[in-house]
Point group: C2
Chain length 125, copies 2
DNA sequence: TATTTATATGAACCTATGAACATATATTAA
DNA sequence: TTAATATATGTTCATAGGTTCATATAAATA
């Protein structure tokens, strides 16, 4: 996977010092993959609606099925993904399991995401 | 796709006023999908490394192929996804096309993502 | 203990998507 | 105009991931 650069940029089309500087500042492969996994888990319509709901209040699985009109199975599967990515945390109380957003980072991510797309939409006018 | 709730929560296992309140506060389907698309585009390892590089500096495609050791085709394909999601913007100068992050929201999202996964890692100790 | 209820999980199916290859477009230079 | 270079795109293939259905687990209740 190393010989891609051999047939491009034969002439000095690039910027050696910038390339050097940026290369040195790159995050670790581990962190990069972890962040990508985090965003991947956030990047699905149903999961985002679950999170949008959890932005307002802690909710049990049953509440979510009603709010989002999804099957219990589908909700549960998606919650598993969100739990695995440490986007939500859960708390058991009797027969019910209550879910909420993991921490402030998560709510900030979601809110910033909404801000971004809403601003974009404004730009389009 | 509507009859999922009919066979669950027959008894009042849920919280009617919370469900009502949260239901009313839900974002539009349009916004939800847009945000999900945004995060989906952020949620891939290669793309995240492109973005991590762009966090430091505006770069042309050729710079990126060198920094990330990816084929030109792969870089271009991923840049297309990022452009489509309005995560990066481009500027043409002669034969080169320079890419940079779209706006402050994007850098904030990426930085918050890194903070989150690094904090998590600390928690595991 | 037996049953009901709330949630979780496994498997099968289908669609979406990343990688790699070849090729197309656009800009500069000869 | 022709050739070379930088970037973009179309296609094919393999795989990841979401949904549903069926079932398993766990807690409450009879």
């Amino acid at each position: 996977m190393a010989e891609n650069s051999s047939d491009i940029c034969r002439e000095q089309c690039f910027h050696p010092d910038t390339v050097e500087r940026v290369s040195c500042a790159m995050a670790s492969r581990e962190d990069l993959l972890a962040v990508a996994e985090l965003f991947k888990a956030l990047g699905e319509g149903r999961r985002m609606s679950i999170l949008n709901a959890l932005l307002r209040s802690e909710l049990c699985v049953c509440d979510l099925t009603l709010i989002l009109n999804m099957s219990q199975s589908a909700v549960s599967h998606q919650l598993r993904v969100l739990r695995g990515a440490r986007i939500v945390k859960s708390r058991k109380e009797g027969k019910n399991v209550y879910y909420s957003l993991d921490d402030r980072h998560i709510s900030m991510l979601i809110e910033t995401g909404f801000e971004h797309v809403r601003e974009e939409r404004g730009d389009e006018l």
